[in-house]
Amino acid sequence: MLHRYDTVIVGAGLAGMRAAVEAQAGGSCCVLTKVFPTRSHSGAAQGGIAAALGNEDEDDWTLHMFDTVKGSDYLGDQDAIEILVRAAPDAIIGLEHMGTPFSRTPAGRIAQREFGGHTRKRACYAADLTGHVILHTLYEQCLRHAVRFFPEFMVLALAIEEGACAGVVALDIATGELHTFRARAVILATGGYGRAFRISSNAHANTGDGLSVAARAGLPLEDMEFVQYHPTGLFPSGILVTEGARGEGGHILNGAGERLMERYAPKMMELAPRDVTSRAIQSEINEGRGIGGGAFVHLDIRHLGAEKIMKRLPQILDLALRFAGVDALREPIPIQPTAHYSMGGIPTDNDGRVRRDAAGAVVPGLYACGECACVSVHGANRLGCNSLLEAVVFGERAGRAACADLPRLGWAAFPPAAEAGVRGDLAALADGQGREPFARIRDDLQEGMQRNCGIFRSEGPLREQLDIIRRLKERFAAARLTDRGRRFNTELVEMIELRSLLDFSEIVVAGALARTESRGAHYRTDYPRRNDADWLRHSLAWTGPEGPVFDHVPVRITRYEPKERKY
């Protein structure tokens, strides 16, 4: 089936729906999303969204900017960060005017709390359900603006003809039919991709499909080696316990009952940035100082008192009880670091236009925003609460840029073979001759990434992981699809998702191997120092027949020269 829209948005999280509200004003527009809009993973964001509103502490955008630059270990592009933080207060007020039910101060203002790496109370929140309330509010706004949704449509390929984006090919999951969407502008907003790791805070749907379709269309991915591990995932599932728990005053304790951060970040303690805190916890665990020598430590919030916990952290109370069997009012919560956020992604300029090379040339008609994109505002390590902000600010900018560009964007010729190509791919997926169920391949990938490409990395294990991934790709080619139905074939969906995971995981590992330094979330035990002389630059990686091929882009520094990072 063929559809035609001026703008096609892929993804209905904060980024995609914010873009839709904008794009709707400038022409026909639709949103394709593989899960129903309100089921997007933005809804799982708990802690908050950052903006220097100054409602609880004196604050201004320059402080927010410095914290973000420092948090990024100086790899963030400072012009982009400046755009982000200066737009933040208006973006939050804009969300409030759409009806977002933020928590309030006694004076009736939007409440703000502390968050790791931020030196002021800057995180605007709604209890510990911040992403949820914003996601639902944006969905309501899309309904109000009569945005056309195609829910449970999974995009399988980008159509690029003569260098310009002409649309996408998508699978209607409910019927199994392929649909072709011709468009003048396509905005990718497919979100995070933490499912490559065994212990992850991410939803099952966070498989990096957007990255995979971009890479398969011959486009580069940027800074993929930077994966953020959140310090406080529930043990054993990896489900998130918000940093807000520490923002409100929670303590992290090792097996000896000591506040372990004293040893690693004596000034900021539990509120040090995530890379520092996760390494601290993992070191304690590796050195046998976990609880009872085990693979977890404790997050203790008991001293905050029942009233505060029930008011500000109700979801945590529920999650701890249901997933760890722990009553957080009376017992400490068992936690471990969990793969959480991906700083890298599809390279874009400051208006979401996708860059195709190190010189910054863009792909006409293609945009990306939110977690799947790399602007880069987070550099080597994202500060908490800056990614919801990024999704909203750059979602809006990408939507607006697409509208503004429409007059210049024609209807690029649609490659006639695009849909047939996807059909062929699907047939090949279904026809593996082997006997191995593909779920085992996914388990092996997640286990290997966890072991060999985690918080502490070094050459040997990274090389091993590259080998593992190459072998997994061979096994994948032979794996078998048992479900031959067309209607709501979730096995097929999972198999395509696994293909995405394999595609970008190889780039994550190759990038980590290439980057012979430690910076932000990327830590090499064999290169434990940051090396600005060689590595103050972004990586761009293309998928080649022999594995990933790299190029580099300088970091844009406007205000703050790199310094050593201390907390």
């Binding site: 309100t38 993973h41 005017h97 309904l143 249901r322 069997g325 779920a439 048992t482 709501f488 979730t490």
Partner: protein, 238 residues
């Protein structure tokens, strides 16, 4: 943490109209360990025993609302239900009642989503905006706390006899959404919305069976919201 709880039997509703017009129930046995949720078990069955078993899931942390289904007779989220807490070793898993089944445990929720459209499901402000946020006291914000936490899983409306009987009924899920705006001190379409829910298909269709209260996996109380809406409708609409 991997202490085994022994063998469990899952009796699961199956329906695939491509293969047969008639639904059936399949039983699967599996070894369950402590900490496993019903969703973990469904995923293990799909990965190891039957790749065609079909259900929705995403966040696996009780916030996205994808995995609502009927488990041992109660609507709930498969992802937050520990198997260890269920009574007995036979677990019956059915799709949410009241919605057409697409395949196995996946239902078509269009009727539920459409019901939202009947209560003007977005924030309305007529008198304009200040430069800053609209002020709201913590107490006013607290009044809608319950309702803003709704994850649109559809469990409540699925359990409502008035909705089964007549799907023109707005149903508890959408009424909770109406409450969310009508009792939001910042919203300015209270009158219009009250008129929308005041009709025969709105709050008065509710026969106070309270199934929705029991069905809500998030512990929200659509029934209380409906009661508040009834009082407001009586007082404020003519």
């Amino acid at each position: 943490m991997t202490e085994s709880l022994g063998k469990y039997t899952f009796r699961i509703f199956r329906y695939d109209p491509e293969r047969s017009a008639r639904p059936r129930r399949d039983t699967f046995e599996m070894e369950v360990s402590r900490g496993m949720t019903v969703l973990d078990c469904l995923q293990a069955i799909k990965a190891e025993q039957d790749g065609t078993l079909t259900f929705r899931r995403s966040c696996r942390s009780a916030i996205c609302g994808s995995c609502a289904m009927n488990i041992n007779g109660k609507n709930d989220l498969a992802c937050h239900l520990q198997v260890a807490l269920l009574r007995g070793r036979r677990i019956a898993v059915e799709p949410l009642p009241g919605y057409p089944v697409i395949r196995d445990l996946v239902v078509c929720m269009d009727e539920f989503y459409d019901s939202l459209m009947r209560v003007l499901p977005w924030f309305v402000r007529k008198t304009g905006f200040p430069d800053r946020e609209l002020p709201q006291s913590p107490a006013d914000r607290d009044r809608i706390d319950n309702a803003v936490n709704c994850i649109l899983c559809g469990s409540c409306t699925s359990s409502c006899p008035s909705f089964w009987y007549n799907n023109r009924s707005i149903g508890p899920g959408a009424l909770l959404k109406a409450f969310r705006f009508i009792f939001d001190s910042r919203d300015e379409a209270r009158g219009e919305r009250l008129a929308l829910v005041d009709g025969r298909d709105g709050v008065w269709r509710c026969r106070t069976v309270y199934n929705c209260e029991e069905a809500c996996p998030k512990g929200l109380r659509p029934n209380e919201a409906i009661a508040a809406l009834k009082i407001a409708a009586l007082k404020e609409t003519v």
